[in-house]
Amino acid sequence: MTILTEDDPASAPAPLPRAPAAGHVEPDPVAVAVHLRPAQRRGLVEHFAPTDPPRSLDVARHPVVARLLRNRRLQFLLILPNQIVFWAVILLGLLGTVVPGLNFGTAITWYLWFCLVFVMMVVVGRAWCAMCPFGGFGEWIQRRALWRRTQKALGLGRKLPEPIAQYGFLISVGSFLLLTWIEETFNIAGPGAPHATSWMVVGIVSSALVFFLAFERRTFCRYICPLSALIGTVGAMGSVAGFRTRDREVCVSCATKDCMRGSSSGYGCPWYTWPGSADSNLACGLCTECYKSCPSDNIGLFLQKPMTSVVAPSRRRFDVAWAVSVLWGLVIFQQVNATNIYASADGWLNRTLHMRYPDPVDYVGIIAGVALVMGGIAWVVQRVLARADVTVPAGGTGYLDRTSRFRMWFVPLMYGLIPVVGADYFARQLPKFFKHVPRLVPAIGAWFGAGSTHSSLYNLHLLANPRIVTVQVVVIALGTLAAVSTSWRIAGRDLAPLSSRPLAARLTAAGLALACGLAASILYVIMHAAS
């Protein structure tokens, strides 16, 4: 890599390019004939004011960061280590020891990686997406380049058809449910047989590759990836707002939108996001392409206060609301299935239906049940608290565009629960981390024939029960506190004006968050008792 020997911090100069003074040169004959309509600015400030991070939180203003972000190799260097690790996971899972705790593939995937992904999600947002080896691999192939900007993409470059794309992140939720069901079936994350983990990774990489070759940009990451909806929703708690416009007026009056279409310096946004209108970090993959391709140096990498992307957006999405409730259902299922009551009920059901764990009936049943309960609560709340004189605004015909009184209540209530859902997923990963992460050392040693199940590190627990449960409950408590706060604020802004009893609406939203937190905590205690 080239080491740069100059161009250090300096006072911010006027942005380039600067046009010549009028009248000195022959006018461009095309420009003379172009008379674009004025862009609409009505409602612009009001729409984005709550979500625009302050200028002071733009880390790209720092010249060292700017230089890093400008470097085309940055993404490659973020992806490369993960790429190496995951090809190692595949190979060692198939060829290495069959002891799951001693196999590097299973050990790093389930004791460390999955937990780290949740930490990154909660703290940053889509940090994982910026370094993901699955999408990264597909993208290298699709672009026929590791880091260079190329023009001739490999593959068909299709768009995801609208009848499917209209469901937004729900497709990703569906693939997460499917993957989790497969994982439960083969006990992949247990971890079970190491080759199962290998085949799972091979499955993800190859399906990613198929989608990257069939569709344009990061259609896979945006719509299909099993983790996309989870990272997108839970990542809203994160403190990185993503790449956003520095001066919205420059973006609105930009006639070329290189950040979306690409230029010689960078690709168009692979995530279908425009920095000029991003109001949350939901669909910013932190890939730096917009930063590189903007001709006006008008894009910054902004930090934000935690929970900003949960509370602030004025354009809330129905798909995200259902994603929250379904993901909540999934994590509750995972907690419930570790209890004695479930074990006996599941056993009876399996005998009756001649199935085996995880019986898709109770798997889907519990998840759908929880999601529908959340929907039901929202429906009851709006029946009780909605003001009769509030009219439902007209909507479109697509799934995301339709409007109803139910949606007006359900969506804000679910957004408010994001922190408790995120905390619950995070807490779920803690036992494996605390109990087994030291096994990584013997697992690496096993490559060289040095690791053994008798090693002291193999049997070392960073924490043991009941301390782990205590930590889990503390995590849930923190998440619940955050969710109570976000629900209270969201309800104050979005639900109070719709409600005949504004205070009751806010209390109900906060109460729902509290109830969810309590339920999760109690389940952890019951799970511990069961084990």
Binding site: V25, V30, G43, K159, G268, W274
Partner: protein, 749 residues
Amino acid sequence: MTLAPSRPTDQRDPAHHAGPMVTVLTDRCAGCQECVVRCPTGALGMDPARWVARAEASLCVGCRQCVRTCPFSAIAVEGPMLVAERSALAAASPSSLPGDVAETRLGFASWDEALAEAARCLDCPDPTCVRGCPTHNDIPGFVRALAARDLDAAHRVLRRTTVLPDVCSRVCDQALQCEGSCSWSLAGGRPVAVGALERFVTERAPVPPPTPAHAALGGERGASLEVAIVGSGPAGIAAAWELVEAGAHVTVYDKAAKPGGLLDWGIPDFTLPSAVAERPWAQLVEAGVELRCGTAVSAEDLERLAAENDAVLLAHGAGVPVVPKVPGVDLDGVEDASTFLERAHVALTGRTRLADLDTAAGARNSAAVVLVLGAGNTAMDVARSARRLGARAVCVDWMDERFAPVRPDELDEARAEGVDVLFSSTVVALEGASGHVTRAVLATTRQERRDRRPEVLAGKTSVVEVDCVVLAMGYRTDTSLAAGQRDLPVVKSVEQYPDRRTVASGILANPAPPFARHQPVGRLALARESARVAAGFARAARVWVAGDALVGPSTVVEAMAQGKSAAVAILAHQPRRPGVAPLPPRHVVVVVDSVGGRTRSAATVIADILATTGASVETCRVEDATRSVLARADLLVVGSWTEGLVVAKVGPSRATRAFLDSLPPLPGLRSVVFCTFGVSPRGTLAAMRDALAERGAEVVASAAFGPGKLAERAAVFGHSLHSELWPGGDLDADLDGASRRGALRVVER
């Protein structure tokens, strides 16, 4: 003003949805408003609550401009295009072909027809037709004026970009240019008949003559310039027009006896009547352009012209015919197309006959047979002229008809006039008696793909009795005229990352509309544009080249656009012949590559100081320094940061190197280089200087700025440039003696 397109109610299906249906895919719509600002009818707006585009279906006419311009493909339009039928133009069908020179294509017969067609124009906010037009006529602008029945205004709009509207409207292949790029065409429909509308303007009101008063726009920009132009074809006409209007003294040399070049002898009267072809030169001579016909210019003459004039423009065309390597091609009776067309033009307009054809016909007691080698547009002109001379005409071309580059309308017209066009057929030998060609041996060929060379099939030959053979297989540029033409012709090319505004306009989004014969109109436009821009760069010191001389055989409109481009460059650069003091720079372009901001700061400081001279100063990143930006520069400042490993591989940044490597020849261009560095610049400045000098640029100053006191050092350098290049100018900064010495030191580094 938006012209209301006709909305015939019968196109709406009352049983289903009325008119086109617009769907905004809100999951992908990022609210960027690219569709909103470009919608011709204002059917798109923003939903302020969700900040996504919202369509008002009742205003939509189905032109699909939004679909082509949406960066994320987040909008879909289904349903009919609500536009009236394109007006059909009458074609003349002469009762007796021999001797007939009347135009075969006619324009609109009445105002009503023209107005109905004008009403089909959507007056698009980002008109793709303008990009498709090689000279970028403001088509919606003149159509708007025409619709308001203001022909003077229409001429004023056209004059900004063309001096041959009457010619171009007759000879252009609009399907691959303006009409092929019309929104309706890109949407799969039939475009506005732009050519016919332009012709209507010129038929109802004559093209106004050049007038130095027109220079009111730019003042007497060329008052003291003396320019020699070699060649009086379309490129020479456009350049002379532009220069004489700016007040320059223009002398035009042509080896032919009459001016006009290709317009005079190359295009038959049935396509371009003599009265139209002669109009430009009548007006130019009247306006004071000195015309020296019958004067061939040799390489030595060119040196003399360059010494005596401030600038020379070579626009002598591509006159060297491509001669096939077949036996008998040197027999009498074998001639090239331009010779034949010239003789045919004289014979037809003089109402005489071609003596040799007559003799041949007399000897064989039947119509003479003219065999035309080639079946392109020139070949059609030859064959149709031959038909008018009373001969039989046979065209042979070894390409498959499916892949032949001939205009389908011209092919149809030629066939309707009785021309035999044999595709997949080639001449393998010409045979003669007493030195005169009498027979041609033809072989069959096969071509299965457009990009494959046709192959000659063995054994399948036939013989045709001929009286005259005309070579119409293309022309090459004569590069013997001057040094600096070694790398000619310029290849028209599309950059890997095309102009961003062109991409945004959506012209590239439908790569092959049916009306454009499934040709990639957007890429064709970009390729033509590369040649137009290239014409703005001098090929040798004070020598510009335009038209077919620059790019090889091309079209009238492209030659005209290039001639104008060269003239604009001459006026911008204001070159001075040897012995006359050069003017200080007037158009400074500062190109900078900065990674952390220091180089950019230095560039800004220098640019601000140079701007105090009154020169226009344009500052841009290396990525944005396109050729059209560079063509304007008479002082080029290049700034780079220093890349490398402290001592190893130290040099200009990668992007700067790429920029310098991509530069065209810049003979005589004054230039300045500077760099910023952390430890040592080592060979950075030398590398930059060498790259510019290699292209003929004159590097007048260079400087390297180390860590610390950047703004101060850049200011000192800027001021030293100021005093060096603008002698006698006001140096408004308070530079003391020490700073001046500092400036010199900086410059010497």
